[in-house]
């Protein structure tokens, strides 16, 4: 009965002791036990640990301790976020039995805030994939339609929130991996500005693009969770020393006079007509609320996907190299010498998608290819950033569709790997430029949700949240739930 409450609502009830943290947690765990066989959102469920933590929170509440608004809230974490003493697999055979001896900064912060960790969610192996189908362990279904995928790569986290199996979740976003699945699962997901949230303890896919962010039911929850995960961390050199405002503070200020750019390139070929229609309707709502929406151009958008594919694969090829079977993780059983051990361990430990990106990235960085691929992709990156800079001189934010497609059937795949990431054409640019971006549900196409994306200036998460909050105050799509 608590499954579809927002974090804010749950927090109120726990604080007033209308319901205990233990009852809340137990109810979510029962929900997982009942539904997850069908949805496949979780790789690991930490029932006993979660209930014990919940009881500790209840004890503190009884003693009258002042606790954070997130105390007692059951959450799910994508399985590439290191959790001390809880297995962290990255949905890979390579790390199937890996129990980290340390915790990610985001996990430490949420644990300190009193969140209850229900478990670790399914994902594409090492976050590489476009459907959460490259997991070595299981397939996650879209709670709205079990023949559809939940989107990449934080599919488990998005499905868990959408199906009421967690009050909120954390995902990671390298090319859209939070926004894409939250759009397809009809929930809210944010990729903060690169450097806003510490990457310490988050298993790297592509270091210059990765960012952790919240997956929630509504925008207010998104602001609340962001409040608790952001902030400078000296253990991550790319974590920025910027003051983190209270993201909930300005939510209700409205968007009258806000200048919104609508980039024509994000509505072009390859965007499903129904998606275009829903987002256009949503833009109408924003205009009704007083925003000034005008068409703008981001001319280098067409190169974003290729640049992303090269940069992310190049970094991934290097980041994946440490999984050599020497110190931890999977090691092949039989081998004749060191080279043989490397080859067998990595051939057996990694799935096809990860291997593809390692090979692609290795090729792009090889001497003789570096200038033509990696260096060129970095130049494109500069151009894409410049596109945004120029639009943001005149506009406060950009609005566009999140996923270009909505109906993506499980197993429905082409052999063309670039084709596979086409639905990410609108999400990738924000990663390349390091900008904050937020996806909210904005209607349906048949029985499947459609997502609208807000992209903002660096560190302007508050602006995004304010606009999206205004939208949600005047629409009800975020209050709709799937019949699982």
């Amino acid at each position: 009965m608590y499954h579809y409450m927002t974090v804010s609502e749950l927090a109120q009830r726990i604080k007033k002791r209308e319901v205990s943290a233990e009852e809340t947690t137990r109810s979510f765990i029962e929900r997982i036990e009942e539904l997850d066989e069908k949805v496949g959102a979780y790789i690991t469920v930490e029932k006993d640990r979660a209930l014990k933590t919940a009881r500790d929170i209840d004890k503190k509440l009884k003693q009258g301790c002042e606790l954070s608004p997130l105390a007692g809230i059951p959450m799910a974490l994508k399985d590439n976020i290191c959790t001390e003493n809880i297995r962290t697999t990255c949905a890979s055979k390579t790390l199937e039995d890996f129990v980290p001896p340390y915790s990610a900064d985001v996990y430490e912060r949420l644990e300190k805030a009193g969140c209850i960790t229900l478990g670790k969610t399914n994902m594409d192996e090492f976050a590489m994939g476009s459907s959460t189908e490259s997991s070595a362990f299981k397939v996650t279904r879209n709670p709205w339609d079990d023949s559809s995928i939940p989107g990449d790569s934080s599919g488990g986290s998005a499905a868990a929130v959408a199906a009421g199996m967690a009050a909120f979740a954390l995902g990671t976003d390298t090319g859209g991996s939070i926004r894409q699945p939250t759009a397809l699962c009809g929930v809210v997901g944010m990729k903060p500005t690169y450097g806003r949230v510490s990457r310490y303890g988050v298993v790297a896919y592509a270091s210059s693009l990765d960012q952790v962010g919240p997956i929630t039911r509504d925008v207010k929850d998104c602001a609340l969770v962001l409040n608790h995960i952001c902030g400078h961390d000296r253990r991550d050199s790319t974590s920025m020393v910027v003051a983190a405002p209270d993201f909930q503070a300005g939510l209700e200020e409205g968007i009258r006079g806000m200048r919104i750019g609508i980039p024509s390139e994000y509505f072009g070929k390859g965007i499903e007509q129904g998606v275009r229609d829903r987002v256009t309707e949503a833009i109408g709502v924003l205009e009704d609320l007083g925003a000034e929406c005008e068409e703008v151009s981001l001319p280098h958008t067409i190169y974003a996907l290729s640049a992303y594919y090269i940069i992310s694969s190049a970094e991934a090829s290097s980041n994946m190299a440490r999984y050599d079977g020497i110190r931890y993780g999977y090691r092949a059983k039989d081998y004749s010498d060191l080279l043989d051990m490397y080859i067998k361990t990595r051939s057996e430990g990694f799935g096809a998608e990860v291997k593809r990106r390692i090979m692609l990235g290795t090729y792009a960085l090889s001497s003789g290819n570096y200038d033509a691929y990696y260096k060129k992709a970095q130049k494109v990156r500069t151009l894409i950033k410049a596109d945004f800079d120029s639009v943001f001189e005149d506009y406060d934010l950009i609005v566009c569709p999140t996923s270009s497609l909505v109906v993506i059937r499980s197993g429905e795949k082409t052999n063309d790997p670039l084709q596979k990431i086409l639905p990410n054409v609108n999400t990738v640019p924000a990663n390349i430029a390091g900008l904050p971006a937020l996806s909210v549900p904005c209607g349906f196409l048949g029985n499947l949700p459609v997502g609208m994306q807000f992209i903002g200036k660096p560190f302007a998460e508050s602006t995004l949240l304010r606009a999206a909050y205004a939208y949600q105050q005047n629409t009800g799509f975020h209050k709709m739930h799937p019949q699982v």
């Binding site: 890996f98 303890g201 298993v203 790297a204 790319t238 970094e315 190299a321 440490r322 110190r327």
Partner: protein, 475 residues
């Protein structure tokens, strides 16, 4: 045909920071395996590097002390290759934008003075260590050294002989010690040399094909490896062959140098900018502050010894080549108060002799400089003879005892008692009537013989000047 050897050196020095380059683990040497490790230096999934600021400071210091230009903007890069001692399977290093560039050092030898160019100095992390001593024949890895900060100092191919290479390497060592950038403990591997070497017919301006020898960890190995490889390459050319570009391995034990891998087998390191670290940006002010903090470097110090203390240039060069030696020398001069040349004579003679015998250096001297000064004072005031002092000195190097105590323990107090000596000398004259005759007949050198016999009789303890006087009187 005569050949010219062309050598470039890459010198790796471990920096004397307390903690590793990208984490807070200690850099201490010699502890139990895998006890100085954490998620960062073990390359656990999700762990991130954070650059140690001291590393930048030390590297800039080394750069300024070797006349380098310090780059206000430099970045770190990943050097990708698989090896069990490299936890992340990439080494964080610097590729195309190093911290320091375009420096030089002057070396002095029989050939006169020569300027050796320094191409660059960059920072990087050290790897762990493979241990092949497991009973079942398997290999174990110790990651304590993994992540210890290094600088790599790359010279221009300006060196032409093993001797020049040694002088250059010694000079680098001295500078790193003076600036306290590295402790340069070679037996612990904190200073290591890679040699790039080619030969060409004399007068030829085109460079020959080069080979590389890695990880030489003593000056002796450096010299031997260069001589051996140079000879080998010349032999290859003389017999009509071609030198193959390859990496070779020098074996200190066998004194042989063998092929390790060819150019075709060489790694493609796939360098690219390290995305986990931000570029290193240095303000001019910061660089100038470090420049001001630089200590007096060996060349300047040697010049001072020559000009102010009148030391021979050679002696000044030897003493200043090692910072611990120079510090010991200066403390001794100060405490002694007499002629610095007396101190330098002892250093160049007795101390160097002991160093050579024991394979020791100034850092191994077991007694404070004050003891040596005290000993020199004992000679000056006639308490011990010069030859007895040498015995005391040798013993002091063994036990570290105070010179006064040693003089007593060894019974080396000089006999300056005229009466006692007169008795001994009379006995010596009785035993050697022929010499007495000779002297009296005008053979003056017989006196020397008699003095010697007296010294022998007193086991060197007699005051020689007094013996001379008494002898002359009696004769």
């Amino acid at each position: 045909m005569n050949y010219e050897t062309v050598i470039g050196l890459e010198i790796h020095a471990e920096l004397a920071t307390n903690t590793k380059i990208f984490c807070g683990c200690t850099t201490a040497f010699g502890d139990k395996e895998n006890t100085h490790c954490c998620p960062v230096c073990l390359g656990l999934p999700g762990a991130l590097p954070v650059l140690n600021k001291k590393v930048i400071e030390y590297a800039v210091k080394a750069g300024l002390a070797t006349n380098c230009q310090i780059n206000g903007f430099s970045k770190l890069d990943r050097k990708n290759y698989f090896y069990p001692d490299l936890p992340k399977a990439y080494q964080i290093s610097q590729y195309d934008q190093p911290l320091c560039e375009e420096g030089y050092l002057d070396i002095k030898g029989d050939f006169g003075s020569k300027r050796i160019g320094i191409t660059r100095i960059h920072i990087e992390e050290d790897a762990g260590k493979l241990l092949h001593e497991a009973e079942d024949g398997s290999t174990l890895v110790d990651y304590n050294r993994g992540g210890v900060p290094l600088i790599e100092i790359v010279s221009e191919p300006d060196l032409r002989s093993a001797e020049e290479a040694r002088l250059y390497a010694e000079k680098i060592k001295a500078i790193l010690e003076y600036t306290e950038v590295s402790d340069c403990r070679m037996q612990e591997g904190s200073l290591r040399f890679d040699v790039n070497l080619s030969v060409r017919p004399e007068g030829n301006s085109v460079l020959g094909t080069r080979t590389e020898m890695k990880n030489l960890n003593s000056f002796r190995a450096l010299v031997n490896a260069i001589e051996d490889e140079s000879k080998r390459q010349i032999e290859v050319l003389e017999s009509g062959g071609e030198v193959v570009q390859e990496t070779r391995k020098w074996d200190d034990v066998t004194g042989k140098n063998t092929s390790l891998r060819s150019k075709e087998e060489a790694h493609d390191y796939r360098y690219f900018p390290e995305p986990d670290l931000v570029p290193v940006v240095l303000e001019e002010e910061y660089i100038e502050r470090i420049r001001k903090e630089l200590p007096e470097l060996p060349d300047k110090r040697a010049k001072r010894y020559v000009e102010e203390w009148g030391l021979p240039e050679y002696d000044a060069g030897v003493i200043t080549a090692s910072r611990p030696m120079a510090v010991f020398f200066e403390e001794c001069v100060k405490s002694y108060g007499g002629d610095p040349k007396t101190v330098s004579n002892w250093v160049m003679g007795e101390l160097m002799r002991l160093f050579n015998e024991k394979g020791a250096g100034a850092e191994d001297i077991p007694f404070p400089a004050v003891y040596m000064a005290d000993l020199l004072k004992l000679v000056d005031d006639g308490t011990v003879s010069g030859s007895a002092a040498k015995r005391v000195f040798t013993e002091m190097f063994e036990t570290g005892e105070q010179p006064k105590k040693l003089v007593e323990r060894l019974g080396l107090l000089q006999i300056s008692d005229e009466e006692a000596l007169t008795g001994i000398i009379k006995r010596v004259m009785e035993k050697n009537p022929q010499s007495v005759e000779d002297y009296r007949a005008g053979t003056k050198k017989a006196l020397g013989f008699l003095v010697g016999q007296t010294m022998k009789e007193t086991k060197g303890k007699a005051n020689p000047a007094l013996v001379n006087n008494i002898l002359k009187k009696l004769l």
